[in-house]
């Protein structure tokens, strides 16, 4: 089997001491930010981007990936024990996980969450390995208009599937696209939208922008609200009883399937996966009244789903070069820093990197079970960290990071500015995630758009003549119409409220 050969090759790469170490560091930091409320993986990955400059690319990407799925594990700990989602994708775990904890079944809930996540992670690893090949083959037939269509579809779908107002999200995407076009025109070398500021000639530093928008912005937002002293439920036996295990197993399976599917969609990822799995689990259950009062399925399914979704959202990035959510946009930035172009050529040109990342996901999941279950008491103690010191440390870290990329104080100012923007946007009901997708995709969309028009000798019909591109654009339009229809938009709101 070619697949097993490739996976074995990946394990060979991922099991070097250095890569193992960075996989562990990523998983550890991920658990940490997952446990701590108010600090998510997006902010942390943004803050760590400058550090990855000095690391070998494989180690850097393994670490960042580990951080993302590590946060899914850590987030559930806080959700179950304190009833605060440590991370946004564990919001639903609070409902039944915490109810279980109050009944004295905290240990069982934690074990089900961790083992369910591990199972889902293992399946997702194989899904990535199996489906990447065919997707890469399809993607290699894509011409410029097809890429243009794909990226427009990715942006629209991300907007439609994300929470919040669609109109506002589209505005955010457009703002992001404009910010992404600042700098030197890639084909003619002319400066655009730089207002004569020389520091902008290479574009707005993506690292500074992301750190400001997510890192600094979240710190300000957290300072504005107060967390009471957490009331931690005691952890008893870590072993689920027979009844709990019997009910959890099928729920984990369903959660894995739903999470894997929702993860691949543009705009998908851990967050939607966990919500989707919970809603479906509740609808299908023979005991819907138990949900919210400590139903085992209500922990098992979403926890499996968010981990599966976190991992399968790497598929569109690695095979098509299309980031499906903010975390993937940051991963794309990390690859670009190292001169790696994600897309159909990645698997052929850097098989070491591609397969090492996939293998490391499985290794990382195994590490996470070990980090999270026996060491649970250490993580619980972390909830007492004084936030005023933590925030100070984060801000200093952000400033050093933003400065070190180009040794530029201008970038620190850019970060500070976007920190304020990142704080204010949610206040007016706008999400920063679509903005960051716009920023990162703008140069790619422009490049393929302009190239398409050169190929067609200026005719705009090329976007409808290529069936792949036309298909993507058509689906995008249908998505938009669907969302703007009153009946459906109402249903969408209800789905998110649940």
């Amino acid at each position: 089997m070619e697949l097993f050969g490739q996976l074995a090759f990946g394990f060979e790469q991922a099991l070097t001491p250095q890569n193992l170490l960075f996989c562990f560091i990523g998983a550890l930091i991920g658990t940490l930010v997952g446990v701590l409320p108010g600090l998510g993986p997006v902010a942390t990955i943004a803050m760590l981007l400058p550090i990855t400059f000095t690391l070998p690319p494989v180690a850097a990407l393994i670490m960042l990936a580990g951080l993302y799925y590590g946060a899914q594990y850590g987030g559930s700990t806080t959700a179950i024990l304190v009833n605060i989602p440590g991370e946004s994708s564990s919001v639903v775990t609070c409902l039944d996980g915490h109810a279980m904890a109050r009944r004295g079944r905290a240990g069982a809930a934690l074990a089900i969450a961790a083992l369910g996540s591990f199972f889902a992670g293992t399946v997702a690893t194989f899904i990535i390995a199996i489906f990447s090949g065919p997707l890469v083959w399809i993607a290699s037939t894509f011409q410029s208009p097809d890429y243009f269509g794909l990226m427009i579809f990715g942006l629209i779908a991300a907007v439609v599937l994300a929470q919040g107002s669609v109109v506002r999200s589209i505005v955010m995407v457009l703002v992001g696209l404009m910010l992404g076009l600042v700098g030197t025109d890639i084909t003619t070398g002319q400066s655009r939208f730089t207002f004569g500021i020389p520091q902008l000639s290479e574009g707005i530093s993506f690292v500074a922008l992301a750190m400001g928008l997510f890192g600094v912005g979240e710190v300000i937002a957290n300072l504005a609200r107060t967390f009471g002293k957490p009331e931690v439920q005691p952890v008893t036996s870590l072993w689920p009883n027979r009844e709990e295990a019997r009910r959890a197993t099928p729920a984990v399976l369903r959660g894995t399937v739903i999470g894997s599917l929702l993860g691949v969609l543009p705009g998908g990822g851990a967050l939607i996966a966990s919500f989707g799995a919970y809603v479906i689990e509740k609808k299908w259950s023979r005991r819907p009244e138990e949900f919210g009062n400590g139903a085992v399925e209500g922990v098992a399914a979403p926890e499996a789903a968010n981990n599966a979704g976190a991992q399968t959202s790497f598929i569109p990035l690695l095979t098509l070069g299309l980031p499906s959510n903010a975390v993937m946009a940051l991963m794309l930035a990390a690859m670009t820093i190292h001169g790696i172009v994600p897309g159909p050529k990645l698997m052929v040109e850097r098989p070491d990197l591609f397969w090492a990342m996939i293998a490391s996901m499985w290794i990382g999941n195994l590490m996470l079970v070990i980090i999270n279950l026996p060491l649970i008491r250490i993580w619980v103690m972390l909830l007492n960290v004084p936030y005023r010191w933590l925030y100070l440390a984060i801000l200093v870290f952000c400033c050093i990071g933003a400065y070190s990329v180009n040794n530029s104080t201008f970038d620190v100012m850019v970060m500070a500015l976007f920190g304020v923007v990142g704080y204010l946007l949610p206040k007016i009901g706008c999400e920063p995630a679509p903005l960051i997708l716009g920023v990162i995709l703008a140069p790619h969309i422009e490049e393929n758009f302009r190239r398409s028009l050169v190929v067609s000798r200026g005719s705009w019909w090329i976007f409808l003549e290529r069936p792949v591109c036309a298909g993507f654009l058509l689906v995008s339009v249908l998505f938009m119409i669907a969302v703007l229809l009153p009946a459906i938009s109402k249903g969408r709101e209800e789905a998110f409220r649940e």
Binding site: T187, Q190, E202, G339, V341, P344, R451, V455, R457
Partner: protein, 328 residues
Amino acid sequence: MSVSRFASLGRIGLAVVASALFCGSAAAQSWPSKPITIVQGFPAGSGIDIIARIIQEPLEKTLGTTIIYDYKAGAGGNLASELVAKAAPDGYTYVFGTAGTHGINASLYKKLSFDVEADFTPVAPVVDVPNVLTVNPKVIDAKDVKEFIEILKKQPGKQNYGSSGNGASTHLGFAQFNVAAGIDLVHIPYKGSPAAIQAMLNGETCCQFAQLQTVLGQHKAGTLRLLGMSTSKRVPLLPEIPTIGETLPGFESVTWYGILGPKGVDPAIVAKFNATIKTVLDNKEIVAKLAGIGNAVRYETPEQFKATIKKDRAQWAEVVKKSGATVD
């Protein structure tokens, strides 16, 4: 001003000059004391990167320091050139230049913020890279250069040729070929050779001038066909592939890759770096490795390299004018 005052000023001046000289040579003696950054104007995996990777390890061993490749792709390599032209000439920042970035671009781009000769300190060239006329046989089923020209003469302005970027030698080489063969194809620039070759494979472009090392794999697999070398003689690696000159007498278009620093690098450092590169290029294993992908070693002293850039700049200016190539 009294004489003694003048004399003392002179002494201070001498001391400053002397200390500057001393510092300079001291810096050169301890060079390299930290990692050296070499900026590439094209993305990872492009033709230049393949060569850069081959010489990286022996260079590091001889220099006793790490070499970091920094990829700043865009504007035909101009982004990277600009970065290095404005970098501190401390001996730790260089650019991997090409006949494209330091020959063609000077006349192709109207407004460059730097001068390809005055703002750089040439260190040494590394290789001569043959370009090869490559076609996707599924788009244009030509067996040789002659047939290729005949087919294209019948469809002027219809077909596209790709390149690894505006102003790259793969762009201007083909523009030159267009003029010499009397055919008309539209130029489509890509960001680096991997993307350009991908586009040729899926039929967005029919053909291109490719650096030999970037298409060897596809040539062996039979998915792309190599019609003719741009060199004056056949390449020893693939003696069965004729030169374009055999069909169009006098046609030649070769590109070199070489290392340049910003203006004002200490000549002692330049000499030391140049000698190191010479050692690496004398290494039989490296020569064999480069020949294995169709490239020939090209060593020159800094002065010779400077003269090469001057000559190429003038030569390519002529090609740009004749072919009417523009950045689009």
